[in-house]
Symmetry: C2
């Protein structure tokens, strides 16, 4: 086959993967879980490292709500660094000297894979709300199609945090034969009402923006203020009380404009900045579609999780963070319990971080130690519980 | 004097205060902390029970963000029950057979006291953002003017939860000679960046609503969707993860409309309901003014809290709730520590509730036991620490 299965690695000395490029693969159609068909559909993806001759060293990384296919390295065009760069590269946790790493943008997204901002071939204009409802299962089905295309039958591992962790669980449940090991991080088998509630506030903020126009805004200004408010809510939930205290305290901003309701405190201007900069790179309709997919996801399919996991023989490394109150550690502990009940070789690590949910992107030193060791053992085929305490 | 110092109590058998009526008192002017003058200004208030001949049995209740002067009983006009009804009445925690209870709406509010929706005498139209910035200190100064009017020199107690607790602390710090005891509940001496951040999201949601029109919306439709989103964020923070789980779980709504982003889950429709019903009784500009007053409040005046409290000799009962993550118990413990360092006779009770921040309105059985005992001892002049464990 003539597709890219080796990625340039120009900066090996520093452990960076170097310059990277997003690739695109278009397929004729995808049957969705609700029975609708998405046709055609495109997957944006990147790969790092080289697929070995046995084609058994592939690892799929699944991104979170606002992530994309650019997990590592420096984008050839924009120079932007990947969202998990410190975890991927020569000698890093996902060691590109050993493994072939794949990361693809979820369908429903807006970073190159098909989503509501894509052109509907039936109309020649963006889908908007005409885009079908997608689920975490559909995202994984699309990833499986990409793996078929890359002629990878079985993954050495599938890993991801937050919504990425939901995809990891979906792989375990829906395609147990294709996954040798799984690393769900800071995630949940299903959303609690509090998690649903935070997402719903974000959706309401977007839909309250008059520029949203029932999702048909692509020929005019986007619902930027609504999306910005949604992102601000998100950012609060990604941090911990303590990490906010350390980062901002009650410091006042300098050069405040003399307006009654301007940002007085640094924490306010930080949130504004995160909100407004998000608007430049994310589509509001994708935010609606993806958060709904998360809220509706239930790895247990309404039944008991360990029964849903019974078909798998994967090794599982579950990682949670003590200060993460959006995806609290008890959800990960329930996950480990279900893995154990299902007879899976599973390990639980709760990292004592103060970063809150963001820790899965920040505590990469600790994650590196855990993931590197875990993957080495999976590669060697060891099944003993190496991290049990 | 001819003002109401006795309130009807028509339903003594059940412990309810019975029918109540909001009263209004207009004063010529109030000098604000920022140097501006509010002239005239009106205070809406209610009283329950009778002031004794020594005028020393008065208790001031301070309401939270969205509260008002109607703390107890059934409103004569609307029939609405007061926000702390189960705490106020004959034989209740704030026993109207013994005490004279006062509750007034904060200035900056929209429930009868002067605020941004009041008519600016200079223009004959609502103030909007022309209303001066008000602080928790200004709210307390206005309450002090009401007490002057009622010829009450010294309060037996001042009590309140959440923002009401901030007013309680402000009374202790700014007018130590007028307060014999204080009951701050589920509150903080100053907001953490997380608390500021949640308020800021609410403000941004309001100001993002095109109907807000820089606060000049009183002749047209109000920024209802923005205010509704703000209230939804608030409601999430008022509940605990567990109380949401118990109340809603992941139950789906019946009779869902076939729209992609409608509320699937009961928790979503609950939040919608709380958001939209709030709009009917609350002014969006007041939401901005009051949340800013909370965020800027610092009982310690930027210094150490125990130094700010040094002028007081009040007995203090601090109550917190274990599942309250908006005003976490550690903030109350810091408060107690400062009281102790200031030499105040102070007691701390952490109630093991699952209701989150809402607990201060819901755990009234537990609060009743604590408050009743505390007030009896204050009345008797006892200074020993009755609740120390």
């Amino acid at each position: 086959m003539n597709i890219h299965l080796t990625t340039r690695s120009t900066d090996a000395a520093s452990g960076s993967i170097g310059e990277t490029e997003t690739l695109y693969c278009t397929f004729s159609s995808l049957e969705l879980e609700n029975g609708e068909v998405l046709s055609p559909f495109t997957i944006a993806y990147e790969t790092y490292g080289s697929l070995n001759s046995l084609r058994d060293n592939a690892i799929l990384l699944c991104h979170a709500l606002s992530g994309d296919a650019h997990a590592a390295g420096s984008d050839r065009v924009t120079g932007r660094t990947g969202w998990w760069d410190s975890m991927v590269g020569p000698g890093r946790a996902f060691d590109t000297d050993k493994y072939f790493i794949i990361c693809s943008n979820v369908i429903g997204g807006c970073r190159g894979s098909s989503g509501p901002s894509s052109i509907d071939p039936a109309t020649g204009t963006p889908y908007g709300l005409g885009f079908p409802v997608v689920t975490i299962g559909d995202m994984v089905n699309a990833q499986a199609r990409l793996l078929d295309h890359l002629e990878i039958q079985r993954l050495l591992a599938v890993a991801g945090g937050s919504m990425g962790g939901m995809q990891v669980l979906e792989w375990l449940v829906s395609r147990p034969g294709r996954v040798r090991s799984a690393i769900p991080i800071a995630t949940a088998a299903r959303h609690s009402p509090q998690q649903i509630a935070f997402n719903e506030v974000g959706r309401q903020a977007i839909m309250a923006d008059p520029n949203w126009k029932d999702g048909s805004y692509y020929s005019g200004p986007p619902p930027a203020r609504g999306l910005s408010v949604a992102r601000m809510v998100g950012h609060i939930t990604y941090m911990s009380e303590l990490s906010m205290e350390r980062k901002f305290g009650r410091r006042f901003r300098e050069n405040r404009r003399p307006f009654k309701f301007t940002a007085d405190f640094e924490v306010e201007s930080y949130l504004h900045h995160r909100g407004t900069s998000f608007v430049e790179r994310f589509d509001a309709n994708s935010y609606l579609y993806i958060t709904k997919a998360m809220d509706r996801f239930d790895a247990a399919r309404g039944s008991r999780l360990h029964e849903a996991l019974a078909g798998s023989q994967a090794g599982v490394l579950v990682i949670a963070f003590r200060s993460d109150w959006l995806y609290p550690a008890h959800q990960s502990r329930e996950l480990v319990k279900a893995c154990k009940l299902a007879g899976l070789d599973s390990t639980y690590c709760e990292i004592d971080s103060t970063y809150g949910h963001d820790a899965f992107l920040l505590e990469t030193d600790e994650e590196t130690r855990l993931v590197r060791h875990f993957l080495e053992n999976v590669k060697r085929g060891r099944k003993d519980n190496i991290y049990g305490r």
